[in-house]
């Protein structure tokens, strides 16, 4: 491990250092409010290091830097996710300041664990070795389990244990898949796996290409758990409901993005050549996921559970982009599919964070996650109600919000790949989802408030809500910057 390797890992290393500083600071100071400030300001270090790497990648002739014995690859793709995760993390920390005032002693741990987990997520898209992928996934998941349980009441603890157990099971499944890959190809490095698979798919390997089938399915199942795709979604509602709401928002956005990043990395880089039709597998999972998520969301009365099923449905939409590998004529030659996934992730992040941030603020006052308790929010908290309405409209995918642009992009990618049936399924699902998204808006504006006290909200959450609320509209009207960044990021696969 030389200086070059340290340079490549410097954003993650600085994140680790920041987490440790937070823990130390927590021990010596009594003014716990300062922890959030230090965390957010401290994120400037990994941010500037990522920008520095960005400059290096831009000036590199191949546009990628590889190091740490070939296990780490810094390119536009991994940098895109570094910025994505950093942005999400900063917003979540800002939004949770009010919430944390009731968490008492554990505020230091809260911030440190969030930062450790984010370090794992930043690392995940940048590693190209199956072992490192596994380690990054665990680095992401273990702090999350502790964070989910951090409220230490029965709900939160139960959710934490469930997450831990099922996460362990999914890791086992994933490891089994990786082990099979290693068994067939003799390597854990994606670069080597690519070559061996190309050899296997000529049919001259010992078992032919069929042998990789089991490995592919197991890897999809293992990562499918992280990105909450049906039929691996059953943990989602319980954990989303039990976890502290800021953690739920983080889980739904950052964790999902990291999962999709590694999915793209493995399938587009390593499995592009195998003739197992994983694209159809994703298409079927996509249809199942959005249907299951939407149908179950319709009957929910708890807004966090509703958004949990909604996240399953959106995982289905995202898989549609993963399935859009092009038609026979231009197979793996169009960046639209993966590009649309990246754009949709940003769209979903901005939108879902807005929804959750408003819910955090409201629930902090009303102490209830029930949708009916949002009655009359149009009068009690007009600004929050407008932002929650905009985010519901964006989740539903109506212009001029970013959700519409995301769906437009991902649907076009699917159409271009000949997946018309899937797009029809997606549109029908959007119609179904109108029922439960619009119901929230209806509750806020058409039902009488149960009290007329206004909602108190601190300055940092206001900032977070303002940023994402404006972001939904700005990106919905001028999406080209992010779209270009997304397409530039996935160009490494082609």
């Amino acid at each position: 491990m030389d200086f070059h390797d340290i340079k490549l890992l410097s954003p993650e290393i600085s994140m680790g250092a920041l987490g440790i500083i937070i823990i130390l600071l927590d021990m010596i100071t009594n003014r716990k409010g300062v922890l959030a400030t230090v965390s957010v300001v401290g994120l400037a270090v990994p941010l500037s290091l990522s920008l520095y790497l960005c400059g290096l990648v831009d000036s590199d002739s191949e546009g990628k830097l590889s190091g740490v014995y070939g296990t780490v690859l810094i390119d536009q793709f991994s940098l895109f996710f570094k910025f994505f995760i950093l942005g999400t993390l900063a917003l979540v920390i800002l939004s949770s300041t009010d919430y944390l005032s009731k968490l008492g002693r554990l505020r230091g741990e809260y911030h440190a664990l969030l930062i450790f987990s984010a370090a794992g997520m930043m690392l995940l898209p940048a590693v190209t070795d199956l072992i490192s992928i596994y380690i990054a996934i665990e680095l992401t998941a273990l702090p999350l389990a502790a964070l989910i349980a951090i409220r230490r009441d029965s709900h939160s603890t139960e959710a934490g244990i469930k997450f831990l157990l099922l996460s362990a099971m999914s890791s086992a499944v994933l490891l089994y898949g990786m082990a099979l890959i290693y068994g067939f190809t003799g390597s854990t490095e994606i670069e080597v796996i690519i070559e061996r698979i190309a050899y296997l798919s000529t049919g001259s390997g010992p078992f032919g290409e069929r042998v990789i089938l089991l490995a592919v399915v197991l890897i999809v199942a293992g990562i499918g758990f992280k990105i909450s795709v049906a039929p691996f979604q059953m943990w989602v509602p319980d954990v989303y409901e039990g976890a502290p709401t800021p953690i739920t928002s983080y889980l739904s956005v950052a964790s999902k993005a990291a999962g999709f990043a590694i999915m793209l990395r493995i399938f587009y880089m390593a499995f592009g050549d195998i003739r197992i039709d994983w694209a159809s597998l994703f298409a079927i999972l996509s249809a199942v996921s959005m249907t299951v998520g939407n149908l179950a969301a319709v009957i929910q009365t708890n807004i966090k559970r509703m958004l949990a099923y909604s996240t399953v449905a959106h995982a289905g939409f995202l898989l549609m982009g993963l399935a859009a590998v092009g038609t026979q004529a231009d197979l793996f030659e169009t960046p639209m599919g993966p590009g649309s996934v990246l754009f949709y992730l940003v769209a979903y992040a901005v939108t879902n964070l807005a929804a959750f941030f408003v819910i955090i603020a409201v629930v902090n006052s009303t102490r209830s996650n029930m949708i009916r308790n949002f009655a009359g929010m149009g009068q009690r908290a007009p600004v929050l109600a407008i932002i929650l309405s905009i985010s519901m409209i964006s989740l539903l995918g109506i212009p001029p919000t970013v959700g519409f642009m995301g769906k437009l992009y991902i649907f076009s990618a699917a159409i271009n790949s000949g997946l018309t049936w899937l797009v029809i399924c997606g549109v029908l699902n959007s119609v179904v989802s109108a029922y439960y998204y619009l119901r929230v808006i209806r509750t806020m504006y058409m039902l009488e408030p149960e009290s007329d006290t206004s909602i108190q909200i601190g300055i940092p959450p206001r900032m977070a809500i303002g940023i994402v609320g404006i972001g939904i509209l700005v990106l919905g009207i001028i999406p080209s910057t992010v779209m270009n960044a997304a397409e530039k990021a996935v160009i490494v696969f082609f």
């Binding site: 099922l166 197991l218 999809v220 039929p231 691996f232 059953m234 319980d238 149908l295 179950a296 009957i299």
Partner: protein, 672 residues
């Protein structure tokens, strides 16, 4: 002139709208007047920039090319945003921002004390911004967007006094009737997109050669394609007719003219804006914008000419008998728009735009004058006016200038532009042009008559009591203040009177060598700079000029005989019957040819409500709802099925995952 300056003509009123709605209305209660100032400053800067853009376009010999900016690129669909700055755009900018500026200044007096003062200025700012956005638009998507926004704004402003049921009805009517036309426009866009793609792709190199983007949505490219003959068969005709349908709705052409007279329910300055510079001229502008496309299709051109001629004649006849001064002006607008359409239809592009230009000033002036009269008398009904000349001299003389101008009296602005149209229709006689020339001459006679009828009834003779004399008005003499309007209202009228007199000299067919720095035929030379447009400046046609002058003077003379000399018995003016019109004909015209009854009674109620709507209702209840109920039932219950597995038991979840893996494997082994 940078592109940013052109954008700011559009952005300034938009920001004024945002600022008034988001800052002044919620936070600065009691500082309503600031809304007016903000809007006026924004539009005034825009006006200065508009003048500058005319000069720049002139100095640059035509078009200033700014490449458009990519907005969204999704696969093969590429949408961009850009400005098309050509002579037409520049001239329209001056019209829109100039009239809007006068209206805003005037409104400070007219809307004084109205509880919706800030809201009013917010809407007007948005209206102006939308119209400027429409004029600047470089591609069809942009045009359509602002086209609809203009429609929305006129809906908001016509229904501004939303506590009045008649205002709400008028707003709805305006919105729905114009939507009918918009549907045609939308179909034209979709048709062009569906059929144009291949044509444009096949000729890509020619577009690049001409410096065009070659996008099927790009206006310059579409016009270039039309001119180069890329559109085979009926494509150009169908697209042109679809676009024309949109224009018929917005410009209140026959048979979609019915909304415009009702649109009088809005505040009077809004009428001035709608009639002179924004809503209704949008239709003329749209046809002019795609003029090369229309020129390709003689069917479309004849259709435009005949529609324009019928409208001009038909609306003018209704203007003869109205008592409401604003309705007279409204029918006058419809009729003048018909003139412009007629001119476009016979290929007289330059005269049409020139008439649009001059009409904007004198029509705005006349509407502001009618608002001023209303300010004093409290009514719009001319039967209760009269004798206002001595009380309101400023209003009288500016109104007189406007009336002379619209009647086409030498040497006022209206004379030159109307003469150009009549000359053009007399010039190349074929069957259609002879028909439309006669229509135009008859309409010109009626115009002179009804305008002076309005002038004499309003300003001459004895005062007949104003709103207080009106039955069922509930008003008394305190509501009538016979005095000149405040300076803030008079000033815009005086300013508008200037172009109503002199704007005609911009065309200048007479003085060789030009007037001052304005060369001969400046207006047509300006429009002619962009080669795709057929405009030619020709010297004044004394034959056409004398015919139209004789017609105008005789129209005024007839009005004088009837209303001043009382040569014809009009003792029953107040009671509402005119003896010079025999009963049935009079009734037919006065009831607007029963178009409202036809649309509302026969088409809307009998056909749509009782026929189509009932059928759809039945289908909805018995087919759609049933399907919906089944899906809903399925949705609710399958939701329950999905969630029954959510027992909270972590073992079940683990089993679920395993079953999922196994089923995927089975699917793969069986089908893979």
């Amino acid at each position: 002139m940078t592109e940013m300056m052109a954008w700011s003509i559009f952005l300034l009123p938009l920001f004024a709208f945002i600022f008034i709605s988001l800052v002044i209305r919620p936070f600065l209660n009691g500082y309503d007047r600031v809304s007016g100032y903000v809007a006026i400053v924004a539009v005034a800067i825009g006006f200065v920039l508009s003048i500058q853009s005319v000069l720049e376009v002139w100095n640059n010999h035509g078009k200033i090319v700014w490449p458009s900016h990519s907005w969204i690129t999704v696969g093969s669909l590429e949408l961009s945003v850009g400005i098309l700055m050509d002579p037409l755009t520049a001239i329209m900018l001056v019209v829109v921002s100039g009239v809007s500026l006068m209206v805003l200044i005037y409104s400070q007096g007219y809307m004084h004390g109205d509880p919706g003062y800030s809201r009013y200025f917010a809407y007007i700012s948005l209206f102006t911004a939308s119209m400027i956005g429409l004029v600047l638009a470089g591609n069809i998507i942009q045009i359509y967007f602002f086209w609809e926004l203009v429609g929305l704004c006129s809906y908001l402003l016509i229904g501004f006094w939303f506590h009045k049921p008649s205002a709400i009805a008028a707003a709805k009517k305006a919105f729905l009737v114009t939507r009918l036309g918009d549907f045609g426009f939308l179909l034209a866009i979709l048709y062009l997109f569906a059929n144009g793609g291949e044509i444009f792709a096949a000729n890509a190199s020619e577009f690049t050669g001409a410096g065009m983007s070659g996008s099927v949505f790009d206006i310059s490219s579409v016009n270039f394609a039309a001119k180069s003959g890329f559109f085979a068969g009926s494509i150009a005709t169908l697209v042109a007719l679809g676009i024309f349908a949109g224009a018929v709705g917005k410009s209140a052409q026959f048979p979609l003219h019915v909304w415009l007279p009702d649109a009088m329910e809005g505040p009077t300055p809004v009428s001035a804006l709608i009639h002179a510079a924004t809503m209704v001229v949008a239709g003329i502008f749209l046809v002019a914008r795609f003029f090369p496309l229309f020129e390709v299709s003689s069917t479309a051109m004849s259709f435009v000419a005949i529609t324009g001629g019928v409208t001009a004649l038909f609306a003018a006849s209704m203007g003869l008998v109205m008592y409401d001064i604003k309705r007279v002006l409204a029918y006058s607008t419809v009729s003048q728009l018909g003139f412009m359409m007629l001119a476009l239809g016979i290929g007289a592009y330059g005269p049409a735009i020139f008439h649009l230009f001059t009409h904007a000033f004198f029509k705005a002036l006349l509407f502001l004058g009618s608002g001023s009269v209303n300010h004093a008398t409290g009514t719009f009904d001319m039967r209760y006016m009269g004798g206002l000349k001595k009380h309101m001299p400023w209003t009288y003389y500016t109104f007189l200038i406007g009336s002379l101008s619209i009647a086409g009296i030498f040497p006022l602005a209206g004379f030159w532009s109307k003469d150009e149209i009549i000359a053009a229709s007399l010039h190349h006689p074929d069957a259609i042009q002879i028909v439309v020339a006669i229509m135009a001459l008859v309409a010109a006679f009626m115009t002179a008559f009804y305008m002076f009828r309005a002038l004499f009834m309003t300003f001459h003779g004895e005062f007949r009591g104003g709103i207080a004399a009106e039955p069922d008005s509930g008003a008394d003499s305190h509501d009538v203040h016979l005095e000149e309007s405040p300076a803030v209202m008079v000033l815009p009228m005086v300013i508008l009177a200037i172009p109503a007199i002199v704007a005609g000299f911009l065309f200048n067919p007479v003085i060789d060598g030009g007037i001052g720095s304005i060369p001969q035929y400046w207006f047509s030379k300006m429009l002619n700079m962009v080669d795709h447009v057929y405009v030619k400046g020709h010297p004044i046609d004394f034959f056409a000029a004398s015919i139209s002058s004789i017609i105008a003077v005789s129209g005024i003379g007839l009005a004088y005989l009837i209303y001043i000399r009382k040569s014809v018995n009009t003792s029953t003016i107040i009671d509402g019957e005119f003896s010079y019109m025999t009963g049935p004909v009079y009734k037919l015209i006065f009831r607007k040819y029963f178009f409202d009854e036809l649309y509302e009674g026969k088409i809307t109620i009998a056909l749509f409500y009782n026929g189509v709507a009932r059928l759809i209702d039945w289908c909805d209840r018995n087919i759609v709802d049933r399907i919906g109920n089944v899906i809903g039932f399925f949705g609710r219950n399958s939701g329950k099925v999905v969630t029954t597995l959510e027992t909270g038991q972590v073992q079940i979840y683990g089993v679920g995952m395993s079953v999922g893996i196994v089923s995927i494997l089975i699917v793969f082994v069986v089908w893979g």
